[in-house]
């Protein structure tokens, strides 16, 4: 061993210059390979996205060309006469996701604030772990649970009360008009709310804990209440992260398929009442793709394209909103 080292040391002095050059060359080569590989990976993502958009557009074209704008506004979905309108699934997708966010955002932020600002130390871990576990439950489990437990419970115990309570209030009495169906827009929204809750909570909690303690302590020091600290220090400091979490949740709600298919009722009708069955884009595709052909397939692909567009609009709106907020805050 030692002999060999000696030997090599001798050689090093002889050809150290050329060795250094070759080592450098190796570095350059390795660097280049690394750069090329990461570049390829990035390009693959772009190509994939382009290919998906491309095949969706090509597949959807016959339906969009035939029905034109009425594809968006018509509620009819007749597979025999091949008359297709996407209004019912688009309505169901947007409303169920919107309602889910309406429920999940305040609750999720509430949990996150409680966990980071107010919670006694010994409770933090169990609640935190519970939320992470909730995020790990597969959507089919939510679907089965919703179908067997939540939906019957809502129909028997909650919906009659909602109908009774909102009956005298104009406007809301159409939104909550009876009879309540177990499989309904309302049930689907509630399941979605539960499903996106852990995303919003987990991300908000993580970004809340990045607020420098010195900021909060300073605020407390000048006599702020916990509410004022959250409102004026924590939320403004973390809003980009929070909006990110909300958007991730919204993304999941818009595209969720399995759980929603179980509890939404799969009805191509737009009912005024939230307690009536409805359908979403992803549920329609999941139910009907298998036996579709020709124009029917094209209409379903056009539905997929609509979901793509809706998601894109939502994300773009979020970006614009964030930019506005930042300008206002003058950061």
């Amino acid at each position: 061993m030692t002999d060999m080292t000696m030997e090599s040391e001798k050689q090093t002095t002889i050809s150290s210059a050329s060795l250094r050059a070759s080592a450098l060359k190796n570095f350059i080569l390795g660097d280049m390979i690394f750069r090329r590989m990461t570049l390829t990976a990035a390009i693959v993502v772009l190509l994939l996205l382009g290919a998906i958009i491309g095949s969706l557009v090509i597949g959807a074209y016959p339906a969009l060309a035939k029905f034109g704008f009425s594809f968006l506004t018509s509620e009819r979905w007749n597979t025999d006469q091949e008359i297709f309108g996407a209004f019912a699934p688009i309505y169901g997708t947007v409303i169920s996701s919107f309602l889910a966010m309406l429920i999940a955002v305040p609750v999720g932020l509430g949990i996150a604030i409680f966990l980071t600002e107010l919670c006694p130390q010994f409770l933090r871990r169990p609640i935190g772990v519970a939320i992470e576990l909730l995020a790990g439950i597969p959507s089919i489990i939510y679907g089965i649970w919703g179908f067997f437990v939540l939906a019957p419970f809502l129909k028997e115990s909650v919906m009659p009360k909602l109908v009774w309570f909102f009956a005298p209030i104009p406007g809301l009495n159409t939104l909550f008009a009876g009879p309540g169906y177990a499989a309904s827009l309302f049930t689907a929204s509630l399941i979605l709310a539960i499903m996106v809750l852990p995303f919003i909570t987990a991300i908000s909690r993580d970004v809340f804990s990045t607020v420098p303690p010195v900021l909060k302590e300073a605020a407390f020091g000048i006599g702020c209440t916990p509410w004022e600290v959250v409102k004026n220090v924590v939320i403004p400091y973390t809003r980009v992260g929070v909006v990110g979490g909300v958007m991730l949740g919204l993304g999941r709600a818009l595209g969720e398929t399995m759980a929603v298919t179980f509890v939404i009722g799969n009805s191509h009708k737009v009912a005024g009442s939230l307690l009536s069955p409805a359908t979403t884009i992803s549920a329609t595709i999941a139910n009907e793709f298998q036996e579709s052909s020709g124009m029917f397939t094209s209409a379903l692909l056009a539905l997929g394209l609509m979901l793509f567009v809706i998601t894109f609009i939502v994300l773009a709106a979020a970006r614009i909103m964030l930019m506005r907020l930042e300008q206002k805050a003058g950061v």
């Binding site: 597979t79 009879p179 499989a183 595209g255 009722g265 799969n266 009805s267 069955p277 139910n287 979901l307």
Partner: protein, 339 residues
Amino acid sequence: MQFSISRVAMAVALVATSTTTVLAADISGAGATFPYPLYAKWAENYKKETGNGLNYQSIGSGGGIKQIIAKTVTFGATDAPMTPEDQAKNGLVMWPMVMGGIVAVVNLDGIKSGDLVIDGPTLGDIFSGKITKWDDAALKKLNPKATLPSDAITVVHRADGSGTTFNFTNYLDKVSAEWHGKAGVSQSPEWPVGVGSKGNEGVAGTVGQTKGSIGYVEYAYAKQQKLTYANMINKDRKTVTPTLPAFQAAASNANWEKAVGYYEVLTNEPGAESWPMTNATFILMYKEPADKVASAEAIKFFDWAFTNGGKTAEELDYIPMPANVVALVRKTWAADIKK
């Protein structure tokens, strides 16, 4: 953004896998959910006797037709018979495999199987959304003794294209002006009301879960899931209970010798004993199969089922095809399917 991409990619992957699930060794078929309990049982027995397996995907009649046309399976199964013209156009042979009955199932407190009587027009009114409450006058008139709640009716129908739906709507279309005006005969009509579920299994499950609901399923599913079925008033104005003899009475009206391409629908048949929603379920295969070995294996299985499967069928409340029809079908195989 990433989210929607992953969804779309998943959907694409799903479609890809669903059309390529052909196993090399087994006979592969896909289609109707209606005869699935029986085909599964036959396959089990056949495997015991011969060692050959059957891979049958119960994806609905619409799916079965689509897959046989796409040539991803050796045979397709459908409850909605393909018209002789379509058979010729696609180069397919169709024959009836077994018959069965569709029943209306309900979920009502205090109502047991057979307690409730419904006639065709009333059933049509319920599925058209004209009758919305269980204590509607029409239902009360048919059931003077039953205590019907004033609850709303939840109609449960299929969310996928279905041969069971084809036969059910074929019946409603014949007997209910309301249904005829609103929807008509179809494997997946524009449902005026109700919630959709996938497959006979899905409808059975949803009705079992939902108080105040009514749906329609193949009789074996109602029996398996212990659902409450309703008695029906048939074409001869007689009240009938869904039993094997009632299905047989209706099936005896079929005239298979005369039916071109075995196109025959068995709803609303005459006869005092006849169950009004009876139907045959069919097999579709290519006249000139690409894989002749697989095709021959499939025919062997069906031949075995015709010879040995009758008892199993009756145990599960399906009606085996009569001997003369079986002889006819065997002739068709010999004449039309290239070996």
